[in-house]
Amino acid sequence: MANEFLPLFYTFHFYLFSLIALVSAIVFVTRKSPVAAALWLVVVMFALAALYVMLNAEFVGVMQVLVYAGAIMVVFLFVVMLLNLGHPSELNDIRGRWGRLAAGLLGLALVAELMALSRGGVAYNFSLPAAPKAEVLAGPAGVIGPIAAPLFREYLLAFELTSVLLLVAIIGAVVLAKKRSA
């Protein structure tokens, strides 16, 4: 929508948010203090949300903020409450030089794969159905209609299985947190 009548504006913001996302991601993995790292992750998530909104995927963008901002807050609390870490300067990476080298190579391989994929085009099986028409988006169910309808019709089983998975995690957390009575 926006890219039709303000191409320069659109391009500028695409590169701006991409830059923010990449820089924050690098800062996020290089911080030693877990709190600082968690906060940089929030910035990454925000920049990604902005990119989604620019692609007219407002729902995904908002969910990105809603889910991840909340989740990172929980991570933050775990760090503050549960991990009794020392001062950040005392923390050392337990992996040696070879570990870092292997991680770097693996990252490069992933980037190369992404590049190859984006050049070669996505296989048909992985591509999504055609984007909903503008009339559908302006209809009574708005932008969530085209997401909700397939989710609760074609992919209902997968959706319900995901919720069972989450339930398992919740029950597991309760069992672990519950005090063992002697």
Binding site: F5, E58, V62, V65, V143
Partner: protein, 428 residues
């Protein structure tokens, strides 16, 4: 889901403005909203002091300017002139960032709240909302979940045990009540059939306000909104009797002042959300005149007045509650959120969903009749909650905790005091 005629009338009675008009209009709206909002925040701090004085039979600030109206400016100047202090072992960057992070989310939410019917101008129709996002409602939820960052970071970065405890309390409280809040608003979405705030308002203009159709949800939302804004009776994060000043113990001058400002900003935003989701937004009650085309300037002004009245009422309600109720204990707060509000909200979603399904299946059109049936269901449910489930345990007047003998003694004492009143004696 919404009557298509009404929806078409609300949306497209005039031509869409051009891009230039859209951009200029948006900038003007941003400036106007920001100004009104900041003045509103400043004067709600003043209102808090005057209303509390009125409730406690005092005068309150009345010296600076007529009726003390310039007190706000005096406070602002004082806070800017004061010295800023930094705790020695604070994490300085976050310590400076936190007050801003507490304030900004409350302000961003206003971008999507519609505050009047569309304004006709010679250059095209201007919608009275800064950004009419198609996901408006979800946007407000996402942004309100960010408000806690400022408070938690303030608590953590101060490197003070009381501040940290305040911050942790705040986060636990917000995470708990956010769930009940989200669940209570699911019912609103069930009726509106969309997440666009304009359609939520259109549905209420058509069927009746959600406060009547979804009373239980409105009640849960109200309680959760108090917890989300850290207002009494949920102001555990800054409980001064236990935590000195909670998360802002180490702050001084203007940075300290940012926390009360963000509290009032959040309060106004929560009031606006309450008005939009449950009290018809800018809809004027008992008439369809305001939400049918063609749009006029008079309609825009009157609907804005209607919206402002509702928001101001809820701001007053917040203040009223603060000077009426005592603070919860921490375990009471948690059990209220998880064991009472969340189950009720979950059951209520099922009840409302079944009712909507049954009404749709039996061919009742979405309109006043549909609303009347839902209202009936809500009256029954509120009765069940208050008189069967609760029975005066949580929601009750203070005297219900006393023995009946004690109540009789108090009543006698109050009678005795009224006879001792010199004014009454003079008359006798």
């Amino acid at each position: 889901m919404i009557d298509p005629v009404i929806f078409a009338q609300m949306g497209a009675s005039q031509l869409d403005p051009s891009t230039t008009v859209f951009v200029i209009g948006t900038v003007v709206k941003m400036i106007v909203i920001f100004t009104i909002y900041m003045v509103g925040v400043a004067y709600s701090t003043f209102a808090e002091r005057r209303v509390s004085a009125w409730i406690q039979d005092r005068h309150g600030p009345n010296r600076v300017g007529p009726q003390g109206l310039l007190q706000v400016a005096a406070d602002g100047i004082k806070n800017i002139m004061k010295e800023e202090t930094y705790p020695g072992y604070a994490s300085k960057a976050l310590f400076i960032l936190a007050p801003g992070l507490a304030f900004v989310p409350a302000m961003i939410t206003w971008a999507v709240i519609p505050f009047g019917s569309p304004l006709p101008t010679p250059w095209g129709r201007i919608d009275l909302v800064v950004a009419d996002l198609p996901v408006g409602f979800l946007f407000t939820l996402a942004i309100s979940s960010l408000g806690v960052y400022g408070i938690v970071l303030a608590g953590w970065s101060s490197n003070n045990k009381y501040a940290l405890l305040g911050g942790l309390r705040s986060s636990a409280q917000m995470v708990s009540y956010e769930i009940a809040m989200g669940m209570s608003t699911v019912c609103v979405l069930l009726l509106a059939g969309n997440v666009s705030l304009n359609q939520v308002i259109a549905q209420q203009a058509h069927m009746g306000w959600n406060a009547l159709l979804l009373t239980v949800a409105a009640f849960i939302f109200l309680v959760a909104a108090f917890a989300e804004t850290n207002r009494v009776p949920f102001d555990l994060p800054e409980a001064e009797s236990e935590l000195i000043a909670g998360y802002h113990t180490e702050y001084s001058a203007m940075k300290f002042s940012m926390f009360p400002i963000s509290e009032y900003a959040n309060m106004i935003t929560a009031s606006a959300m309450m008005a939009t989701l449950f009290f018809g937004g800018w809809d004027i009650p008992f008439t369809q005149w305001d939400n049918s085309g063609p749009h006029t300037v008079l309609k825009s002004i009157l609907t804005f007045g209607s919206f402002a009245t509702k928001v101001l009422f809820f701001v007053f309600f917040y203040i009223w509650i603060r000077w009426t109720l005592p603070r919860f204990r921490y375990d009471q707060l948690m059990s209220l959120g998880w064991k009472i509000l969340l189950p009720i909200a979950l059951i209520y979603v099922v009840v409302v969903a079944s009712a909507v399904l049954a009404l749709d299946a039996s061919g009742v059109a979405r309109g006043p009749m549909f609303g009347a049936v839902l209202f009936g269901i809500n009256v029954v449910l509120m009765g069940v909650i208050l008189f069967v489930l609760d029975r005066g345990r949580l929601i009750s007047p203070a005297y219900s905790r006393l023995e009946s003998v004690g109540v009789a003694r108090l009543k006698n004492a109050s009678k005795g005091r009224s006879t001792l009143n010199p004014a009454a004696d003079k008359g006798a």
